[in-house]
Symmetry: C2
Subunit: 198 residues, 2 copies
């Protein structure tokens, strides 16, 4: 699996050094991000991550401290580029729905439905989840005078996450295969309804 045979020796800047801790770290982080999104934390083994990254799995412990801390690192990276997100914004919906058909929700969103063993991780992801999705939506509902803003926000997040998870799981065939824009129409109907009681 050491297929990463990049330019042997280029100029001064070494983009393809055979030994590069930073690069190995990145490869592990990327592989873990994918696998955690596809299968979740429990069903992803460190050996799987190492194999997909093309890096020895033992380096997970060295560079991150362990599988759990690697998950936290993935979560932090995921949080980095996603600021507080309005779940009712169409662009945001499209971004969360994602382009890749066979991939579940990211670590933070996933935390809404699948609790984590380690309470530290659970609290951290929950905090992110509320900060980035639930609370903004709840405040928006409150601003608009929607009756039970907090509950409605949580229900909307749960429903949306369920759709993401189902799309990744493949159990619901048409949902898994649906074109993103086509799916977006239906999802918008659902989420708009959360904002419009009665």
């Amino acid at each position: 699996m050491k297929a990463e045979r990049i330019p042997e020796k280029t100029t001064g800047a070494p983009p393809g050094r055979r030994r590069d801790a930073g690069r190995s770290r990145e490869l592990l982080l990327d592989a873990a991000t994918e696998l955690f999104a596809e299968r979740g934390f429990e069903r992803t083994t460190t050996r799987d991550i190492g194999e997909r990254a093309g890096v020895d799995a033992a380096l997970i412990a060295r560079y991150f401290g362990g599988k759990t801390q690697l998950y936290i690192a993935v979560m932090q990276a995921d949080s980095g580029d996603n600021a507080p997100a309005d779940l009712l914004d169409e662009d945001r919906q499209r971004a969360l729905l994602g382009r890749t058909p066979h991939r579940g929700p990211g670590p933070v969103v996933r935390a809404a439905l699948v609790p984590h063993d380690d309470p530290v991780v659970q609290d951290a992801s929950r905090e992110q989840l509320y900060a980035r999705l639930v609370t903004p939506l709840s405040e928006r509902f409150a601003r608009e005078g929607v009756p039970k803003p907090q509950l409605r926000a949580e229900v909307a997040v749960a429903a949306f996450t369920g759709i993401l998870l189902a799309r990744g799981s493949g159990a619901l065939t048409e949902l898994a295969a649906a074109d993103p824009d086509e799916l977006l129409d239906v999802v918008r109907d659902l989420l708009d309804a959360a904002a419009a009681p009665g």
Copy 2:
């Protein structure tokens, strides 16, 4: 489920026989039903099941053939009392939402979001899922002239299952603690929206 007592050695009375294969089988089945709903298949160990049932875990292999077949038995029992269910019916929603606060979806519904390792189990639960929930809803949509009936039905099931899962996971506090009837109002808004294209 049957709320039978735990065997008491002191009573030599017939109803609490100390050795009763049928009873032990039932106890294991009930305990497994609870635990699978609470934690899902993977995170439930045979030892957990045995402990909650008050029965030696080794009997799982004897009476069911193994953990996987026990799951199938739970699924069959779950399918038994639930005929094809209209997800838009309020009583049905209430039944699926359940009374017990801290409990996730049953094995069949759960299969919509969490794929199973064993393809045999996956197919069986998927078949049940479609027969009992997706297809009836899809046909109803088609009957009512809703545009993309199949996709809308799958999205509705995914959203509803997400809510069930979130309620069981406890990550979304207000959703987990909400009164069933209160929650039902919000859920109805969502599901009705699936039937009414924007």
